[in-house]
Symmetry: C2
Subunit: 440 residues, 2 copies
């Protein structure tokens, strides 16, 4: 059995296209500044649409601003060959890495282009989702949530960025209409299934020296906004014993969140305070008002609930001990998502054929796949990133990891799109085809 | 002995003027937004200058943008009657209180106006200092530091606000020149002395039910900027055991600062973290970079040094335990200032005459008086503010406290400016005058 060769992957073209897109919105330090719906984000979407048109693909934008790129197969429209969907995103966190999102998009796009080499019967559509990151509006995966009816235009009006622009306005500004996604939703529901590739964003694959992570569960975040209020006072004139310091109370909360995360680490809990804003903070003011953002994730709903309950007990204790007002508000409270076993099987099969080591794993990070899983059979796989560093300009991926991801994506497209994968005779025929034609 | 009466204080006019100035830069919640050199700050300075001109006083602005208001006495220019100086500031912290700074300015200004009622021989000059608060440029008492040669124009270029405007540019923008203050410096050096009134900004006078605090020492702040660096990572994908969280490290520092402050509270130490900035903080990122601002004050230099040394030991321990880089930088390291006993004696004398209860106390907060003390004999007194709350829109002061402050300021002006206070015969004569003429 021979794996897809480097030559077949057309590596040079891949790199050129990836680098062209990765350079959009790069800051001086090398970090990415492609905040959702920003000028840089929009520029990247337009460049990719141009590349897709040049490749002869069909291009459209949906009401959420998601970019749809379709390569039609010879059996397009045949109900026995419903389209296969791929997807990922291109927006980044502030000062983020090059690979988060973009690598998945480029891998899917390039694998679609490689289908030139085989007889493609099934149509393939790549969806580039908008606003996967929560950095701008404190709301993640907006494009896929709208498609899966987990958000409405009305709800989007309440998610507002630092400048006061709502996610709703940002989409309308692009000419979108977040409440007009009926046809797209039906297309996804009627599809063969959905696959997303992504960097792991964690250290597990690297630590175990494994090529591919096949995701079985996505741990959904429980997110809280916590307002801590004490009494602002002059930092020189207010004696230690007379203080109601909101920041020292917040510091205890930050450490409590970490302690709970560590206590439940072997049950796959992660717990993080990602933001701490001292409102009207100044060097000479004892802080009177602090706001924290907390993110707790797990794959077992009961364990997550247990951790969240314990955190609330700790908040009450800190509030009472320090005479502070501590008010948590739930920002999101989603259930862990189980992905589709049959779709994962296609990935396993192609890992084996391509001599790629793999393991089944949990995604701690949320992804658009969670919402596609509400509409169709969804699968997801990871490639390792160095030291697990992500959401950071230091994010790095080896060429080998990228090639392995591309190899697996392409082999899976060939497997699913050239012949009827449900037909055992065709499956055998396809194996022959893959080995003798595609795998030269 | 009768105290200065409420009628003599012209209370209605005082209130009208105070409220006119206090309304400038007030936000919807009732907090003050008169950041140094802002439009509101500038508007307040212009209105006060207008009031002073209407009262027949001389008005000028110095190279630092400080406003000088002078009421000439009949012996102006006589070297035996050098001018008495008064001063305070009108800028505020963000969302600050009405009384901080402004009360001292208005009390001095109004007391000068009340001199209509007595024969004024000595000239009195009120200096309204610029940028007393550190909120905008992370540098406090800029106006008085420039006068006392503790800052130069060149140094001001390195203090930059959030928008990138330097303190130097802000002063130049007003038409000032921070390096041209020779004549003003000489005027202060040759003066009789300086007096500032301020709200206490702490709870001591209220707790002891005392009218006036006569300040003997001002505790100077040691200020640090601490950069905590770990590794940013995805909050879902990075397991608890693989994290280098800069914010949880910062939380330990915040609690260590509080613990040290409490440990040394009976030695008059206060220790505060007033700002905590998570750089590129987002809900889905384990923080990789946090910056803290620490303020430690005391009146005994040795004790302050001991606390600072202990804090550095704790920083090293946290850095090593959590594998973080923790870098403190000194922002200011000033020595506690002792004020002038002879000038304080004038205040004591007038407290006694006016039946005001008083105590000698330390100022934990820094004031422009610290820098005036480098040039002339300086005194300072406090009136109580409710619950010691300051630097906060909840700051409140009773009418009685304001009237007591005004009474003491006016009586002291009469005492110092109507006759030669060094001459015992004149002193007796003045006592007669104060009781029989001024104190009707």
């Amino acid at each position: 059995m021979r794996r897809v060769s480097l030559q077949q992957l057309n590596w040079e073209q891949y790199l050129a296209d990836f680098n062209a897109l990765a350079s959009i919105g790069q800051n001086e330090a090398g970090g990415m500044e492609r905040l959702a719906f920003s000028e840089a984000d929009q520029q990247a979407h337009k460049l990719l649409a141009q590349m897709a048109e040049n490749a002869g693909f069909e291009v459209k934008w949906d009401g959420a601003g998601n970019l749809w790129i379709t390569r039609r197969g010879t059996d397009d429209g045949n109900p026995d060959f419903p389209p296969l969907l791929l997807g990922s995103h291109m927006d980044t966190v502030p000062d983020g890495g090059k690979y988060d999102g973009l690598l998945g998009v480029m891998t899917a796009f390039h694998a679609m282009r490689l289908l030139d080499q085989v007889p493609q019967r099934r149509t393939v559509t790549l969806i580039v989702f908008r606003c996967e990151e929560s950095s701008r509006f404190n709301c993640a995966t907006i494009g896929s949530k709208l498609l899966a009816e987990q958000l409405t235009g009305q709800m989007l009006k309440s998610y507002v960025d630092k400048e006061g622009i709502s996610a709703y306005d940002a989409i309308r500004e692009l000419g979108g209409n977040p409440d007009n996604l009926y046809l797209e939703r039906k297309y996804i529901k009627d599809s063969f299934g959905f696959i997303e590739m992504h960097i792991e964003q964690g250290p597990v694959l690297g630590e175990r020296n494994t090529d591919i992570g096949i995701v079985n569960h996505i741990a959904a975040p429980h997110r809280f906004h916590i307002i801590v209020k004490g009494t602002a006072a002059h930092s020189g004139a207010c004696p230690m014993g007379s203080r109601n310091d909101a920041l020292t109370g917040a510091a205890e909360i930050i450490l409590a969140v970490e302690r709970l995360g560590r206590e439940y680490a072997d049950q796959r809990i992660v717990a993080t305070v990602g933001k701490c804003d001292v409102i009207n903070g100044a060097m000479n003011i004892v802080p009177g008002h602090v706001e924290l953002y907390v993110d707790i994730r797990g794959i077992d709903q009961e364990i997550v609930t247990e951790v969240v309950t314990k955190l609330h007990m700790e908040l009450a204790e800190i509030a009472s001990k320090r005479n502070l007002s501590i008010e948590p508000t739930i920002l999101s409270q989603e259930r862990p998502v189980k992905l589709d076993d049959d779709m994962a099987e296609f990935l396993v099969e192609q890992c084996l054929k391509n001599m790629l080591t793999f393991l089944h794993m949990v995604s701690g990070a949320g992804h658009d796949t969670m919402y596609m899983a509400k509409l169709t059979r969804a699968a997801m796989f990871f490639v390792p990133c160095e030291k697990g560093i992500s959401h950071n300009r230091a994010e790095a991926v080896t060429d080998e990891a990228v090639q392995n991801g591309l190899r697996l994506m392409y082999a899976t497209l060939v497997r699913i799109c050239t012949l009827d994968p449900e037909d055992e005779r065709e499956k055998a025929e396809m194996d022959r085809l893959l080995i003798e034609e595609a795998y030269q």
